[in-house]
């Protein structure tokens, strides 16, 4: 089969690989019909995530058709069209039994702090991902679900990570009616977080980024007010001015490990790998909210330490909430919102790239060329 493979920082290529096989009785093999590159894939692509091995196939956002099932699989059949959450999870461990699928303890031998994620390094379990023609899907009875007849394929792909994560970001903000909500990052997760904040009753939603084309999208798609931080000497002071110097009630970090806005922070983390991530957006969030506020962290960070301003967080009495999104738990409510038309996740897709051209896809997404917000990947066998 053809599959994207990692060759080292900033380098990927498409290779012939063996078809994945059933390695556990509850495995399925899924033929991928559509995938996507996630902003968090860029952390792998840039060599930021420890134990990202040459030859690894990335990709945790994908849908497909069941090609083969293991002996104990009851809920899926060959030929079923399925959407697969980015989390790999067993359904029965302490965490899964309580709905914390992203924290599953039975699937990641390499680390206890993180669950398992398709194609997201050995730190996230060492499973090849879905930027390929076929992928191994463990616990087929637990994770995947049939794509509803009424749902577009492109919406289904966006429901495997980006939309649930954005919604989860707003949800962890514990937004109450009339709250002022500040979202850092106008990428897919930030756009969905901003949009979801309104569903939860926000009174004002502000999005901060440095890419004007994405801020345009935040105004149009997410009905948000926008600020380009490059235009301000100090974006925190501007955010204070915007709230009559009180600060926001809720902030959402939808940027994560490669945040810009402070060259030293960015270079020491994203380029030199001396921090688990550049905490610029998180520190701005800490300083831009009011005392007693809630900060929700949806941006992905590596496991190493980062220079986070905990002193300010302590002294302001902040609540910091964060997790990888337990995607399947979000689905029933999000399916309702997509069906009712409140959310149309495929509206943010900007590029559709054949798998064979995935290296260009990574580059244009990474370098933010051509107005790229969300690139889909189309396998040749689809």
């Amino acid at each position: 089969m053809r599959a994207m493979t990692y060759r080292g920082p900033y380098k990927v290529r498409v290779e012939d690989k063996d078809l994945p096989s059933i390695e556990h009785p509850n495995d399925a093999i899924v033929r991928v019909t559509m995938g996507a590159i996630c902003g968090s894939d860029l952390h792998l692509y840039h060599g930021l995530m420890p134990d990202t091995r040459v030859g690894h196939t990335f990709g945790h956002e994908f849908i497909g058709v069941v090609h083969e099932v293991g002996g104990s699989v009851r809920n899926l059949q060959v030929g079923d069209r399925v959407m697969v959450p980015f989390n790999i999870f067993c359904g029965s461990c302490f965490y899964c039994a309580r709905g914390l699928y992203s924290n599953c303890h039975n699937v990641n031998a390499n680390a206890t702090a993180v669950g398992a994620i398709y194609g997201y390094s050995h730190t996230a379990g060492g499973y090849d991902g879905g930027q390929a023609e076929y992928v191994r899907v463990p616990f087929a009875d637990v994770g995947p679900v049939l794509i509803p007849e009424w749902m577009d394929d492109e919406d289904a792909v966006m429901l495997t990570d980006a939309l649930p994560t954005g919604y989860f970001g707003a949800q962890l903000g514990d937004i109450a009616e009339g709250d002022t909500v500040l979202v850092f990052g106008a990428g897919p997760v930030g756009l969905f977080a901003a949009k979801s904040a309104w569903l939860m009753g926000a009174g004002r939603v502000v999005v901060v980024d440095h890419l004007d084309y994405r801020l345009d999208k935040a105004r149009e798609f997410a009905h948000a007010e926008t600020f380009n931080f490059v235009e301000y000497d100090d974006i925190v002071v501007e955010m204070k001015k915007q709230t009559d110097h009180l600060g926001f009630d809720v902030a959402i970090d939808a940027v994560g490990a490669e945040a810009d806005g402070n060259l030293l922070m960015h270079v020491t983390s994203a380029k030199l790998k001396m921090q688990g991530g550049s905490p610029v957006a998180l520190n701005w969030a800490i300083d831009s909210v009011r005392k007693g506020a809630t900060i929700s962290v949806m941006g992905a960070y590596g496991p190493l330490f980062s220079a986070v301003k905990f002193g300010d967080a302590v002294n302001k009495g902040l609540t910091l909430r964060m997790n990888q999104c337990p995607v399947k738990r979000q689905w029933p409510r999000l399916f309702e919102h997509v069906q009712s038309g409140y959310l149309k996740p495929s509206d943010i897709i900007t590029h559709r790239i054949p798998l064979e051209h995935i290296a260009e896809g990574y580059h244009l997404f990474s370098a933010k060329l051509d107005g790229c917000i969300k690139p889909l990947i189309l396998p040749s066998a689809a």
């Binding site: 420890p50 031998a109 206890t112 979000q330």
Partner: protein, 191 residues
């Protein structure tokens, strides 16, 4: 103002927001949001028909975190450890828990060694890595590389100049390793 008791008023009323934004307030009640209440035990186990899953066979020794009691019942089998990078990774897993910086710093070091090994290997297998096609830099020509940056207020253009050095680093290291290996072999041949 934080200097007085009341929150600043919002520019729009609830009615105005509901009229302007589709779905405004649909999940106003926390009960309508997923996972409410938190941490409720899900008796159906979301489709799992086991309390502890059947174990995946361990066909070759699999590294695991020291913080795990045992090898997880299911694990990834992609890219098993090999070469010098594999040896470094094994040390990271066998000696240091996730709590130790040494664990992660060794894994990051192994990643860099892995890239050099891969580039040397690609030369040996006569399928050398191609820095042009593999970096996808052609997208600069096909997807408005210049106009996407010029005249834009972008914070990232200041450090994107560093990227070619990050790309070239393993190639330079691989070339150095190849030259050193050749010298060693030739030296050994003369002894």
């Amino acid at each position: 103002m934080p200097y007085t008791p009341h929150k600043p008023p919002l520019a729009e009323t609830t009615e105005q927001l509901r009229a302007r934004i589709p779905g405004w307030g649909a999940d106003l009640d926390p009960q309508d949001r997923p996972s409410t209440p938190k941490l409720d035990l899900r008796e159906d186990l979301t489709g799992a028909h086991w309390e502890f899953p059947e174990r995946q066979p361990e066909s070759r020794p699999r590294e695991r975190s020291l913080e795990h009691a045992f090898l997880t019942p299911v694990f990834g089998t992609a890219q098993p450890t090999r070469g010098l990078s594999g040896a470094i990774r094994k040390v990271a897993y066998e000696r240091y828990s996730e709590a130790r910086a040494a664990h992660w710093l060794l894994l990051i070091a192994a990643d860099r060694v892995d890239a050099v090994e891969a580039h040397v290997g690609s030369l040996a297998r006569l399928r050398p890595d191609n820095p042009v096609t593999e970096t996808g830099v052609q997208a600069e020509l096909t997807h408005r590389g210049l106009s996407s940056r010029l005249g834009r207020k972008r914070a990232d253009v200041h450090h994107q100049a560093l990227d070619p050095f990050l790309v070239a680093g393993p190639f330079i290291a691989a070339a150095g390793a190849a030259v050193a290996a050749r010298s060693l072999i030739r030296g050994a041949g003369r002894d």
